[in-house]
Amino acid sequence: MKPAPFSIHIPDTVEEALACLSKEGEDARVIAGGQSLMAMLNMRLAEPGILVDISRLGELKGIELGPDGLTVGAAVTQAEVFHHPDLPRYIPIIREALSHVGHIQTRNRGTICGSLCHADPSAEMPLMLATLGGRVTLASTSGSRELSASEFQTGLLETARTQQELCVSAHFPSLPETAKWGFREISRRDGDFAIVAMACVADQGTVRLGVSGVSDAPTVEEWSNLMAGDIPDLLNRLAWKMGGYDDIHASARYRRELVRRIGKKLIEEVLA
């Protein structure tokens, strides 16, 4: 199908983009890479009157990557981060997670911040933000604010961003050098939406497990002094806490079972 008619506003600065959202926000959608939004427009799941195209704003194209972590502007593509030469050194888990985000053709245009704002319950970038304890910066004409992953992603395809706000950047802390990590994703085919994706980071006696695709938003659990014998019980409790949902890809029961089985394998692999 084709998108319903809309106007395109192409701001020259972030300030102009914010002014535009402040005035037209109720009827506008922000487009950067458009790899989720364009599909929704084509299927007419979204019919905004205005698209605010921020993809050419140089101010939003910054990538800072160092010992403190990764900070990406809203127009930075998934491919740009994936191919960053320092990514394997500081946050290798993000590279692994990005390899599961769509395909090379969508990663070439899709943005990290766009994935976060789309807030698909099974998506990899919201899972990274939650598991690594990252933050999102939202700006509007009246100022800016920083939110943690759980403050930002409020539910299924829902975030705390108001229609007058623009997500200008996201920050992911680096992994400590001593940290061990693992990432597992179950999908029907490579590049499909994940049925369940899991990220695990272990450092100095604590084990953190992030799970997406089971509840409306990524869920993160942290355990200290984890005993191998306790893992099945803890994962079972986590699976029931998240509940799961039925859709065309899998049943809630199947998702809970993946948490128990793949979660156990992942944690054991990381701690090995």
Binding site: F6, I8, I31
Partner: protein, 167 residues
Amino acid sequence: MKVLQQGQKYSVEFVLNGENVEGFAEPRMLLSDFLRHEIGATGTHVGCEHGVCGACTVLMDGKAVRSCLTLAHQVAGREIRTIEGLAKPNHDFGALQQSFHEHFALQCGYCTPGMLMTLSELLQTGKRYTEHEVRDALSGNICRCTGYREIVDAAMVVLGKEGKVAE
């Protein structure tokens, strides 16, 4: 700030296969439709129209992208390469096209422009690729005829470690 009003057509200038071209498009027009209906470059095929099948893949500034998930106005000033740009000046096949031909890597041919454009991104890097990397790149292109074996074989001849020297 530039504003493109809905329902009105605006000029889009860009480079298509090395030539400067201009067309007119409404804000909502997809790049895939723009290429086919306005520019007349019908080599780019349209399959699912929501970014899943890969038939409409083109190169935008050298990167493989879905033209059905890109708006016509987003290519203003950019360089687009399509299947029409792969043949040599004397209309001989390019290396990938020749290899597809030799390996029977197409049957109905509907997905082929997208397959070739995805592989073109790899070809232009001049690097050598493993079969796993080629399969990973092609995972974004769906073929319902061949079962992929011939496509991967054709690609490996051009892009693989043992392959011919890239163009």
